[in-house]
Symmetry: C2
Subunit: 396 residues, 2 copies
Amino acid sequence: VSDGFGPANLPFGVVRPRDGGAPRGAVRLGDRALDLAAAQGDGLLAVDGLPDGAFAAPDLNAFLACPRPVWEAVRARVRELLEAGDGTLLELAACEALLPMRVGDYVDFYSSIEHATNLGRLFRPGAEPLLPNWRHLPVGYHGRSSTVVVSGTPIARPHGQRPPAEDGGPPTFGPSERLDIELELGFVTGGPPNPLGTPIGIGDVRDHVFGIVLVNDWSARDLQRWEYQPLGPFLGKSFATSVSPWIVPLAALEPHRVAGPAQDPEPLPYLRRTEDWNLDIALEVELAGTVVSRTNARGLYWDLAQQLAHATVNGTSIRPGDLYASGTISGAEPGTEGSLIELTRAGRQPVELRDGETRTFLRDGDEAVLRGIAGSGEDAVSLGEVRGTVVAQPPA
Amino acid sequence: VSDGFGPANLPFGVVRPRDGGAPRGAVRLGDRALDLAAAQGDGLLAVDGLPDGAFAAPDLNAFLACPRPVWEAVRARVRELLEAGDGTLLELAACEALLPMRVGDYVDFYSSIEHATNLGRLFRPGAEPLLPNWRHLPVGYHGRSSTVVVSGTPIARPHGQRPPAEDGGPPTFGPSERLDIELELGFVTGGPPNPLGTPIGIGDVRDHVFGIVLVNDWSARDLQRWEYQPLGPFLGKSFATSVSPWIVPLAALEPHRVAGPAQDPEPLPYLRRTEDWNLDIALEVELAGTVVSRTNARGLYWDLAQQLAHATVNGTSIRPGDLYASGTISGAEPGTEGSLIELTRAGRQPVELRDGETRTFLRDGDEAVLRGIAGSGEDAVSLGEVRGTVVAQPPA
């Protein structure tokens, strides 16, 4: 069994056999995955409330739309099948892992105080790095759902407007020269949508969050810097967001919940923690073969329950398959930053790779790999990895 | 024939008969609509490339996904059927008009120089109202697609964090006290999606834009003001966006294309106009029974072809059914502003309604109606209207 994909984990995904056959839902165990479409078709997955053919689909949305007791019953039944050796196991080496959900809305938060402080210093030098709202609410914005892609999808370097060389001058146009990664976790929503106008309370997170993925929120810093005032990031982010293919159920991460950092000032009542929802997940960033950052998600200032409560406090409805990313996860120490702009101090201090190479921002051909794992040994729960290689935009 | 819904228009929508029956695609003529699902089922709509059952669906996405020649052939055939009196006409009074498309991504631009200048003065008093990027690119951001709703949907007043009474103080929490409308046009995309990494050229707009709707981008100014730095609007906008139910094909608006305003500085090559894509559409805002603003879309600084070219220059893929709104459309004269924050000078000068009432921002029970029409007389092309009534958020 691969590290972190034992019976404690059992993440859900969608795979397509490379030798043909339709995409189908699957649960990973080690280097193999239980074919859920076959199991349901063969009558091995009779769970009240699970729609017929829920897993004979190119995404998990029909399953994600079920209420939580259905998720729990399916997970329990899958464990029974695996223990009994029933059902069809697919070799992952013979399958392509697809994007596991059809994303309705993609929201990106900004929940690491270390990252927000680092970025504030770089984007607004000389000013207070944290804006007045930051400690009162989990700042977030909507990203683009059409360009959420699965691990392994090549990332075309975006072209666009880059900042003027001097204040008041014209922008230049061309490929981004400051292409970056962002190390994030994201939660995938499920359950029946909340009615429009009805917020989700902070205590109801388990009914609305199915699980967690790794997210690489690729960022073109030059495009972003020029465009982002006053309405926020747009083309600097919208060209691609990569996610890991296996959604780790929140249920599998229960043993890895930890208390978050103290919050001062105390948040408003709708944001007050009722349980610990920080996750003790070790994370790393590998760039062109060298691990350049190691950090942990446990220190995030705003946790996922706070993010969900905030996103819906205005009555917004969430749908199954939505993606809510944490924002870049950075620690306080050098070497724990989750983006190159932080690791290199905006390009002034290159990071060293093996073989004596250095990088400030990404070059064409560079592969970035993000990994995450909770715990260790037999009970470890891995998020797997999210990979992407930068390629030049195809000629017009 | 109702004004503006004659044979020159023929907009597409989705209706559901109130006495039962499934939602189906339809083309409006006056106060009736041709049942496209029935027409296709009866063999009256045999068009190469149109998928079977394209209109027997709760949205037009399967039709929107067809290439432009299919749109044109269906439009031509519908005109023939209506002229010949063939096919089933539904009485609109006996139908509910549904949201016509399943929105993948919703983008909102900021393309009126008058609106951007007005808002800049109100949100950043004392500073240059237009930021340095504004004349170089159509500023935009991603909005929320799950809360795009059809005309007539009640709008629950959002709750959330409102700005501190004094700098450095804590925010307050409660229902928005500055709920506003925004008068906008939006284009709905269609055609096969562009591959990830491949921009859409400014000359290819007809292959990717199916048609136009009216948009009311409801805005909670207090929530927006507190949250929007540095990542842009989020909860101040995400609670609801209303659209008109009939998508007016771009083809119907060809006679109403006009030259846009001169642009200085000249835009970068990918944004240079190759054709006139400003639209001469008269617009009005009615609030609680009184028309409070009259304006026209023809003066927008950035046109829809520029918006589409910009949104995809980084290689973003668009999907059929995406919605791209113009941003608030305001003119230069008093009484031509497209939002209450502008009409009332941020609440300092109430607008007068009939019966001696006044308004600064929206009260519970207020209905807002936006209307749009191009041309006049028999050849007029109406966008119809988008209505919404404000209600209190249901108790928790």
